[in-house]
Subunit: 345 residues, 2 copies
C-alpha cells in the first residue's frame, strides 16, 4: 500500500550520522511492538521482551536454538507449516509429528501427550493455523498447558512451547485471539510482519518472551547472543526505524472476511467440504478426489493455483490462499465448479 511505501521511504532519510550503522533491537521499534502485543495478548510485555528478527523463520530458528540441545525432540501437529521440518533438522533436532482432530482441526491433546518422551523439549503450535485456519480455543490451550506441566514434571525437564503466530491479527467474526503464552509461561511467541502488511519479502518480525517466563533476563541475553552467532538475525536498520509506523497500518480484516465467506459459501454450494476458517487468509478444503495432487492439476488447468495437502503432509486436502482480489476470487468460482464436476466424472 501507499502508506507502507511512504513509511519506509521516510525511514530512509537519515536523522543522524549513525543512521545506517549496526542496529540491533532499536528501542522505539521494540516499544512499538511490545505496546501492540500488549493490546492483542493480555500480558504485560516489555520492550526488552521483543527480539527483532529477519521475519518469522528467524524467530522460530532462534527459539529452537535457545532451549534445545542436539538430539532433542520437537513435537508439532500435522498439517504443519512446510518449513518446520527443515528448521528443526537444521537446528540438530528431531521432528516428532502428531495428527490433529480431522473433524475440527483442533489439537489432539492425547496424541501430543503420547508423543512426549524424555527427549521432548519443544512443542510448536501455529495459531491461527496455516493451513487449516483454526484458532485454538482457550480451553484447548489451557489443557495443553496442563499436559505439558505434567509431562515436564514427569521427565524432569521443562518442555517449551514455540507459538508461531504470524496471523494473530487476522481473526474473523470478532473472535478473540488467545495466545498460548497466556496459559503457559515457558513459551516463545514468533511473529512476522509479512502477513498483515502483505510484504513477506521485507523480513521483519520478532521473538517475544512472556513476562512470566522463568529466568527471563538470562533468556533475553541468550537470544541476543544467538542472533549474532547464527548469522546476525537482526532486521535491517530502516525496517526497524519504520516499525512504529508499520504497526499503525491496518490490515483490511473486513475485506478478507468477505472473501472468506464468499469462497466458503460458493465452495459448499458446489459440493466441496470445507470448514469456515476462523483466522489466516487460507482455506483448507477436502479434495473431491483422494489424490490431491491430481486435483490441484485439474484446478491449474482452469487457471486456479492452490497447494496440494501433500505439501503439508496431509493428503486429501488442498490450500486456497485468499490474497487475490475479490474480483479474481469471484472469477475463479466457475473454475472451482468445473473442476469439481471433472473430478466427479
Amino acid at each position: 500500500s501507499t502508506a507502507y511505501v511512504e513509511a519506509l521511504r521516510d525511514a530512509l532519510i537519515p536523522r543522524h550520522e549513525l543512521w545506517f550503522a549496526y542496529t540491533m533491537n532499536d528501542p522505539a521499534a521494540r516499544e512499538a511492538a511490545a505496546s501492540s502485543l500488549r493490546r492483542l495478548v493480555n500480558l504485560p510485555f516489555e520492550a526488552d521482551d521483543i527480539h527483532l528478527t529477519t521475519g518469522g523463520f528467524a524467530a522460530i530458528a532462534l527459539a529452537l536454538k535457545a532451549v534445545a540441545d542436539p538430539g532433542d525432540e520437537v513435537v508439532y501437529s500435522l498439517p504443519p507449516w512446510f518449513l518446520y521440518e527443515s528448521l528443526v533438522l537444521e537446528a540438530g533436532l528431531v521432528p516428532v509429528k502428531v495428527t490433529i482432530d480431522p473433524a475440527t482441526f483442533d489439537l489432539d491433546l492425547d496424541a501430543i501427550a503420547a508423543a512426549i518422551t524424555p527427549r521432548t523439549r519443544i512443542v510448536i503450535l501455529c495459531t491461527p493455523n496455516n493451513p487449516t485456519g483454526r484458532v485454538y480455543p482457550a480451553a484447548t490451550l489451557q489443557r495443553l498447558a496442563a499436559v505439558l506441566d505434567e509431562a515436564s514434571a514427569r521427565t524432569g525437564r521443562r518442555i517449551y512451547i514455540v507459538s508461531d503466530e504470524p496471523y494473530n491479527r487476522i481473526v474473523y467474526d470478532g473472535a478473540a485471539f488467545r495466545s498460548p503464552l497466556e496459559f503457559y509461561p515457558h513459551a516463545f511467541l514468533a511473529y512476522s510482519y509479512g502477513k498483515t502488511l502483505l510484504a513477506p519479502g521485507q523480513r521483519i518480525g520478532y521473538l517475544a518472551l512472556p513476562p512470566a517466563m522463568p529466568s527471563r533476563e538470562e533468556m533475553r541475553d541468550a537470544i541476543r547472543t544467538l542472533q549474532f552467532a547464527t548469522g546476525f538475525l537482526f532486521p535491517n536498520a530502516v525496517l526497524q526505524y519504520a516499525l512504529p509506523r508499520l504497526e499503525e497500518l491496518r490490515f483490511d480484516i473486513d475485506l478478507f472476511q468477505r472473501k472468506r465467506n464468499l469462497m466458503v459459501d460458493a465452495l459448499r454450494e458446489i459440493g466441496y467440504r470445507v470448514s469456515r476458517s476462523e483466522g489466516t487468509f487460507y482455506l483448507f478444503p477436502e479434495s473431491p478426489i483422494g489424490d490431491d495432487e491430481a486435483f490441484v492439476r485439474i484446478l491449474a488447468e482452469r487457471g486456479i493455483l492452490v497447494m496440494p495437502g501433500r505439501i503439508f503432509e496431509t493428503p486429501g486436502y488442498f490450500r486456497i490462499s485468499l490474497t487475490a482480489t475479490l474480483e479474481t476470487i469471484e472469477a475463479s468460482l466457475p473454475g472451482f465448479a468445473a473442476a469439481f464436476a471433472a473430478a466427479a466424472a
Copy 2:
C-alpha cells in the same frame, strides 16, 4: 550518502504487484554482484554463483554449515574478527587458532600446516585483514593452496577455505587485491556491502562460489536450502532491488588513503610502532604499554575511542578505525601524543 538513500528510496516504489513478495536471490541483483566480482577477481563468476545474504555474518555462517559436520575443526589466524568464534561454535564446530607472523602480519603457513588434523574441514581467512590491514600476497595464497591440497590428500577429506572479504574493494596504493579463490577452487567468498557503503545496519552481502569449485551445482542447491533452514538468510526485497545501483556507488578510496597516511605518519612521529595498512579502514598499532586495555582507557580519557587488542585475542595492540572525518582524525592527534607521553610516564 545521498546517492545511497536515493537508490533505496527508488527501490521502494513498487514496479509490479509482487514487489514485496518473498524475494530470494533476485536475478538482477545476482548479475550486478557477479559482474562487479568478475572485474575485481579474475574469475568468470556467474550470477547463480552469488547467494545474496543478510550481510557477511550470514554468508560465513552458511559456508560453515554447507561443508562442515558437527565436531569438525575450523582453523583461523589471530587476530581474528571477533565473531568467528561464536559463528564456529554455534555451527557445532571447533575453533582452532593459529598465530601470524608478528613482524609482517602475514599468514604463518607452517602454523596452519601444523594445526591441521583429520577433523580439519575449513580454514577461514580475512583479506584485506581486519584488524591488521594486511592484504595477503599472491605468493602466500599460492603456498597456502599447496599446503591445503597436500593436507587434504593426506587426510582423505577436502579442506575448504572461507574467504572473508568485506574489504576487498578497500585496498590502497593501487595495490592489486588477490582473492584466495583464484588459487584454490574449494573456497567460498563472503562479502558484505556494509563496509564500502558505510551502512552495516542494512544487511546485504553474499556468499559466492568460484567457477572451478567441484560439484558447484550441488553446492548452489545446498546453500539455497540452508538459507531457508537456518532462518531465511536472504536480504530484504528492497535491498536486493537496489543492489545494481549500490554496486555503482564509489567508495572514496583516496580520502581513506589520505586518512591512513596522515594517521600512520603522525603516530610514528609520536613514537608508536604501527604498520601502514594495505587495505581496510583500520590500523593496528602496538600499545606503548603491555596492558592494551589500560592504554585504551588512557586514550578514552582524551576522547579517543579505539578497541583493545585483547578483543582480537592479541594483547599488546589496539585497533584504530578511520571512519571518522579527516578533521576529527587531525583533531585526535594531540590526544594520541598525550596518551603516549602518559603511558611512558
